[in-house]
């Protein structure tokens, strides 16, 4: 008889131990738990956690929310949808968090949405830009009302921001009309480029070339050759997961006769310039936040973040910080943690964040435009200094050409 039982003792004990080791459901007066699903191996993930933690510390120092402290629970969502879904399940079914703040890859968030909806937990996106993420809020409100995006402005808004740059800076100021657009073949880019093309054309620019390339490309010379042949005078790039480092180095080494700029998420990194040995000079990068007095909170937050993390924040650090505050204030107004009540208050959000005034539209997506949050164009200049060159109202410097094109 024992012969039968013996082989089962170990696995049964292990499974039972693990099962009971899972934390019990949150007690009534315990801390408010903020789940952070993010790619913890990346800078994006680390900065999200730092931003969230900074906000939590600030709020806890003032007594917390509804008399309860805030607590962060991190789950690794990687850049893979399967792991992403597992992270959501871990946070909602196991850790039973009260709210989730995080995200980065649009594909992962999209995969997580139905699971988030089923868990009836509020989710605030701070990293992914695809408009599809908030689409269902309108078309299926009852199930998807839990989804909010507080950062960054979505790909469509980014496209309009780029159009604004093309029309105002390139066409009006620099008298450049012919542009080329290249972007990595990812969902948010596929969402963005059509809007960009249409808007640019309507603004009077000529889109000479528009190409997607494989995210894992490591040799851009064929692509760059095509751009050169197209007769474009400015190259708009749309990059997030692809290797901006390699792209920019190859552009520089080839003394490419066309200046570049656009949305280059890795180009937003504080150490990008030094990482590529200075070869990013004159690249104009769309930023979601820069160290400039965009609002009263920008400079204090920025410096505090540098102090806490030793490096300037990437945009998810800003997003995470603001999202916690937005959520905390909504809970205070609702006087309850109950999702439906909090959602009602979140929808009424009118909050001055680090990057601008934050208000949600009817699809729970952060609004963009004058008076709200905007895409800021900062250019890498000599010695790694970043000057904001657009919009004009907050510009800190003038735009420079690539060093080999000075004569122009």
């Amino acid at each position: 008889m024992m012969r039968f039982i013996k082989p089962f003792i170990m696995p049964a004990v292990a499974l039972a131990a693990w099962g009971t080791a899972l934390p019990a459901s949150a007690q009534d007066k315990g801390p408010i738990r903020i789940g952070v699903p993010t790619a913890i191996q990346l800078q994006i993930g680390r900065d999200t956690q730092t931003g969230v933690r900074m906000a939590i510390d600030e709020i806890n120092a003032k007594g917390g929310v509804l008399g309860r402290k805030l607590e962060m629970v991190v789950a690794d969502e990687t850049e893979n949808p399967e792991q992403g879904i597992a992270a959501i399940k871990k946070l909602t079914a196991d850790e039973k968090v009260d709210v989730m703040i995080g995200g980065y890859t649009s594909g992962v968030t999209l995969a997580q949405l139905p699971h988030i909806a089923r868990s009836k937990t509020i989710y605030m996106e701070v990293g992914a830009a695809s408009p599809a993420i908030t689409q269902r809020v309108k078309s299926d409100y009852d199930n998807y009302k839990y989804i909010f995006r507080s950062f960054p402005i979505n790909a469509a808004h980014q496209a309009r921001g780029l159009v604004d740059f093309i029309s105002g800076m390139l066409k009006d100021e620099m008298k450049i009309q012919n542009i080329a657009i290249v972007g990595e073949n990812a969902k948010w880019v596929q969402d963005l480029v059509p809007i960009l093309k249409k808007g640019a054309t309507e603004a009077g620019a000529n889109v000479k070339l528009s190409e997607f390339f494989d995210t894992s490309t490591s040799d851009f010379s064929p692509l760059l050759a095509k751009v050169k042949d197209s007769g474009a005078q400015y190259l708009i790039v749309i990059l997030s997961h692809a290797s901006s480092d390699i792209f920019v180095k190859q552009w520089y080494d080839a003394r490419f006769p066309i200046p570049i700029g656009g949305i280059d998420v890795k180009g937003q990194d504080q150490d990008f310039f030094s990482r590529v040995g200075g070869k990013a000079i004159s690249e104009t990068v769309g930023n979601f936040a820069v160290r400039a007095p965009l609002t009263a909170k920008t400079l204090p937050f920025w410096d505090a973040f540098v102090k806490a993390a030793g490096t300037a924040p990437v945009y998810t650090g800003v997003g995470g910080y603001d999202a916690v505050h937005i959520y905390a204030e909504a809970v205070e107004r609702a006087k309850s943690l109950e999702p439906d009540a909090v959602i009602k208050e979140l929808e009424k959000t009118d909050y001055t964040g680090v990057a601008g005034k934050m208000v949600f539209d009817e699809t729970h997506d952060v609004k963009a435009g004058p008076g709200f949050v905007n895409l800021l164009f900062a250019q890498w200049q000599a010695d790694g200094k970043r000057e904001v060159v657009w919009p004009k109202q907050i510009a800190t410097g003038k735009m420079i050409p690539p060093p080999w094109m000075q004569v122009q």
Partner: protein
């Protein structure tokens, strides 16, 4: 190897444990994790039946998984059919892929089959990205509905499918069919000289392997509620081969447990944060290095005093 009473007792015990664990642990999270475990078990068992028995290694098992999953995806998002149709259809589509790749390559000796499977899966992954307008590209297809609304009931359904899969494959493996597959592993020319239509058995067993893999793919799609190109990736294929290896190649039930253990391990290591992947890799390397015959099947035989 003869099936002993203790082996059957062990099987029943394991299934009972798997079925009751989420109820006992009272955790929706555990239900989700175990659903994934059991689906990987179906994939591992199906790989073992063909490659474990014949020794013709299939490095692109993900091809069948992705085929089944995307079939379910297309049915849900393009054709809006009753989702239950994805189960039989995923089997048919996966078997079709098995014929397309297997027919030209299994009749040849050498690495052609292994390379063809590897390439076919990689090609499908690229195609899903290239035709992103039809397939949803990187983000894939989403909008799939669960087959059964209660996650616990769905888990029991998937568990039942896995048990049937393992039972069918083990019966086949122990039958004359399995004998012929093992003979093919031994020496193909000798098999021919014994009057056996070797190519038929190779293709047929690949189709059987594909059928269950595709079925698992559809079950996966209805659990994740989305399908995306990484399903076709070489990582998926290699993960499954490692699970088979840890479980004990050729036994069918060993890979089932290997898959469950390794999937559980991945989740259980979450507490180690950034080091999760390092530790998982280390554990795998230790097993592969010190236990060339696998972990699960040899361990069971040792514990229950089987003659080797």
């Amino acid at each position: 190897m003869k099936v002993r009473a203790i082996d059957i007792g062990g099987a029943i015990g394991a299934v009972a444990l798997l079925a009751l664990a989420p109820v006992l642990g009272n955790s929706g999270y555990l239900t989700g994790v175990l659903t994934l475990c059991v689906i990987y078990a179906i994939w591992a068992a199906s790989w073992d039946f063909m490659s474990g028995l014949t020794g013709r290694e299939n490095f692109g098992h993900a091809l069948f998984i992705g085929a089944g999953a995307y079939t379910a995806g297309f049915l849900a998002t393009v054709y809006f059919a009753n989702p239950w149709w994805s189960l039989p259809l995923s089997v048919v589509v996966a078997m079709a892929f098995a014929v397309i790749v297997g027919f030209p390559t299994l009749r040849l000796r050498g690495p052609y089959f292994a390379l063809a499977m590897l390439s076919a899966a990689a090609i499908m992954q690229r195609l899903m990205l290239i035709f992103w307008e039809q397939t949803g590209g990187e983000e894939g297809l989403y909008g799939l509905e669960p087959l059964i609304n209660s996650p616990l009931h769905y888990y029991w359904f998937v568990l039942a499918v896995m048990v049937v899969t393992a039972a069918v494959l083990m019966l086949l493996a122990r039958s004359h069919w399995g004998l012929i597959l093992r003979a093919i592993k031994g020496d193909e020319a000798t098999c021919q000289a014994a009057g056996i239509n070797v190519t038929f058995y190779k293709i047929a067993s690949l189709m059987i392997s594909a059928a269950f893999a595709g079925l698992g793919g559809a079950l996966y799609a209805h659990y994740q509620l989305q399908v995306s190109p990484p399903l076709f990736s070489v990582i998926t294929s290699i993960t499954i081969i490692i699970m088979v290896y840890v479980g004990g190649m050729g036994s069918i039930w060993g890979p089932v447990l290997g898959a469950i253990l390794l999937t559980l391990l991945t989740e259980m290591l979450r507490g180690f944060g950034e080091y999760r992947l390092w530790i998982y890799t280390l554990v795998l390397m230790l097993i592969l290095f010190f236990l060339p015959g696998g972990l699960v099947a040899p361990l069971w035989r040792r514990l229950t005093g089987a003659r080797s």
